[in-house]
Chain length 348, copies 2
């Protein structure tokens, strides 16, 4: 790999190659309760949950959100899916000289609103300005910290009534055969909304990004109990998330195409553009692995919330198969591979 | 302010204007033990110290360091100067397509080495790739978390034997008249090294960046006791740091030019380039405010370390004056203003 390519940043197999070649071998990746090598949504050390995300979405304003709301939601969700309560954000702005003051104001308004709604304040920040051409308008990097939530303890207590388990955090590796897979709503909206807006494909009026902080909904679901794993299906989409669950947990996952919630306009857009909605990134969805005894109750809880009203049970973990296999709507079966590279760059 | 300009990112008065106009009014800045509005080196909430810094240094490799060692040291130092023990780093890379794999490898080696030396592991990360022209090679953003250090408790216990105080963290606002000001070594090296390398001025062989994690040295100094404030004089240099101390603590500061440690080559370079070394950013220095009873002992402790061997006592806080006033080496007095804009952009 003599030059870094766009596909190396895309959250699929090529990205894994970049991480395995350049990043992970260089770092002590064995430290902490959830070490860096776990490649989970956040790292955990001394019961502090810690995560970071750089945002380079293009365009910076898109239907349903902007780089500001994205930067808050992305980080809040990465903490919440571990079972933690997000406590604070840190915000780093790298601004290209010449950015409109009004645009910066809109982005900051959006960060402010998203931070208030999620109940997670910005506690630290840094601002740099670089000359024209050294950035594309603005890069917003958000780090977040979280602490063990009471809701997680309740969830695990209830899980222990069902099975013997040593789970302490909602890691990707916790799934057991039989655990049900729930997705909290329609998939593919964010990526298609950003792509359509950028390229002028005309779906902008029908498809909005789902960008949204999910910490409140997740806390409610944890009170129901029985949840073992959670992940937000961002880069690489549902296909990547399910493959990460399967690989890290050492189980197969079978899903049913018929049950996957999809916005009809996303189906049409994906059909026209030759894209697979399962590979498209989301910014306001969570995929949940839950003990079968609690699956219906967790689903009902999600559906009672605005963010989770389209939640659906889409499949289960299994010891009978390897990888991720989907029963298609026409009755066949196909393997759902992790995407090689993201079909849509710069959506987050 | 209709457009954002380079000077808005420079850590002086213009930067303050940007923060006061666009950033701070948008954020709930009153939360935490050290809130965002304090504009201290880190924010503190629930005894967790949290900070972030985006690094856009140009060139990415410079005499004495590179963007990788810079990214680690900058964040480690921002935590250490609050009196905290840095626990973990999070690393966000935004890479321009086409970056040489070898360059990425060198940067990661440097991050690895700096993280090992400082004893602070990378616990979380994110990597994005953007198309050519959407970044200048690479942006490295580092966030860090720290926890209350035992050394800080020892320092405060010893301080309380000298004076009645409610200090809990080493905030910029803790100085009292009479407190001594120590700088841990020569100032201006980092900024001049980067500038000289970028522009080919020819000082590269004589002036190396001071980039260095100071957590170990700071911990030793805290064991001596009596320290009230600390700050690393990065963007805006010593001039900006002293003015922040003075303004936030509501005291004047008088310093003596003669005692300020300066590398002779930095004096020559600044003379030729018309720059004031007090306004040049550093990446391996700390400015310390300490109770007068403990000043000599702290100074001796610093001087016994490799990082602090050139430490010097340069002045004291005073109720007799306002702002920062310097006794010049020719016997006059001049006001040291905070720089309007950084004389050297993109040094960090």
């Amino acid at each position: 790999m003599s030059k870094i390519l766009m596909s190396h940043g895309a959250g699929g197999e090529k990205m894994k190659q970049l991480l395995d070649t350049f990043i992970l071998p260089k770092l002590r990746s064995d430290i902490g309760d959830v070490p860096l090598s776990a490649l989970d949504d956040s790292g955990i050390i001394d019961d502090i949950v810690f995560t970071i995300d750089g945002h380079t979405v293009k365009p910076i304003f898109f239907p349903g959100g902007d780089i500001g709301s994205l930067a808050v939601a992305g980080t809040v969700n990465d903490i919440a899916v571990m079972g933690a309560r997000p406590v604070a954000l840190a915000l780093s702005l790298v601004i290209e000289e010449g950015l409109d003051g009004q645009d910066l104001e809109k982005i900051m308004d959006s960060i402010s609103l998203a931070s208030e709604k999620a109940g997670v304040p910005v506690m630290a920040g840094d601002t740099k300005v670089v000359e024209r051409g050294a950035a594309d308008k603005i890069v917003v990097t958000t780090a977040g910290i979280g602490v063990r939530s009471n809701a997680l303890d309740i969830n695990i207590k209830k899980l222990k009534k069902i099975r013997h388990t040593h789970i302490r955090w909602l890691r990707d590796s916790n799934l057991q055969p039989g655990d049900k897979i729930i997705v909290s709503g329609t998939v593919g909206d964010h990526g298609i909304a950003v792509l359509s807006c950028r390229e002028g494909y005309g779906f902008e009026s029908e498809i909005l990004s789902d960008v949204c902080s999910l910490n409140s909904m997740i806390e409610k679901a944890l009170h129901v109990g029985g949840i073992v794993s959670m992940k937000d299906p961002t880069r690489g989409g549902l296909a990547n998330t399910l493959n990460e669950f399967a690989e890290k947990s050492g189980v197969g996952i079978e899903i049913d195409e018929e049950f996957i919630p999809l916005n009809p306009a996303v189906i049409i857009a994906c059909g026209l553009l030759g894209l697979d909605p399962l590979e498209i990134g989301n910014e306001g969805k969570v995929v949940i692995g839950v003990a079968p005894e609690k699956a219906d109750e967790v689903l009902a809880c999600l559906r009672a919330t605005e963010e989770g009203k389209n939640a659906a049970l889409i499949g289960q973990a299994s010891s009978e198969i390897k990888g991720v296999v989907m029963k298609t709507s026409v009755g066949g079966r196909r393997v759902v591979e992790p995407p090689i590279g993201d079909p849509i760059p710069r959506i987050c």
